[in-house]
Amino acid sequence: DTEVTQTPKHLVMGMTNKKSLKCEQHMGHRAMYWYKQKAKKPPELMFVYSYEKLSINESVPSRFSPECPNSSLLNLHLHALQPEDSALYLCASSRTGQTGNTIYFGEGSWLTVV
């Protein structure tokens, strides 16, 4: 069973809507990630948070706004999306430090923009 929980599992939103994707982990990991995956493609990194601070933004459009309220939670706020933003959004987490690290993924949130 995954220890990274994402909600909702499915989301349909209009181009003028504002919605949020949520991610939670209780493994004590201090690095959290958002990935975007289009059909039949590998996941692409969007954002990385480390110790609740934004560490990496892979030139993601501002209509995607990440937030890390605490060490267990990661949100992705969505506003004025385009149909081409429809994809599977994967949250992930990892320990920090020098050794023994693995990135663990949640089940994903399917987003459809209409």
Partner: protein, 118 residues
């Protein structure tokens, strides 16, 4: 920049047989990690096996094992006694440490779609 190449877009195998999925990568890093992830139709990304670059011994996890050739930058996955539940997309991934160890970046290959036939 790192690149990961999976040269087999699709493969199939009969149940109970053995199959090997290929992966090569390119990097100038000396310390890194390599992974195989499995993504079934449910689309959850599941960790299959992990290899630290500094370890010469090949990783093994039950029916899954790797052949890690660091000099050749090759990292293949062998699945023994294939089961119907192994049907999935398999991604090879390279991970390097960023920010002094505060986080990591995964670079994925394009994936190999494996079908296990009864």
């Amino acid at each position: 920049a790192q690149t990961v190449t999976q040269s087999q877009p699709e493969m199939s195998v009969q149940e109970a047989e053995t199959v090997t999925l290929s992966c090569t990568y390119d990097t100038s890093e000396n310390n890194y990690y390599l992974f195989w992830y499995k993504q079934p139709p449910s689309r959850q990304m599941i960790l299959v096996i992990r290899q630290e670059a500094y370890k010469q011994q090949n990783a093994t996890e039950n029916r899954f094992s790797v052949n890690f050739q660091k000099a050749a930058k090759s990292f293949s996955l062998k699945i023994s006694d294939s089961q119907l539940g192994d049907t999935a997309m398999y991604f090879c991934a390279f991970m390097k440490q960023l920010g002094g160890g505060s986080n990591y970046k995964l670079t994925f290959g394009k994936g190999t779609l494996l079908t296990v036939n009864p």
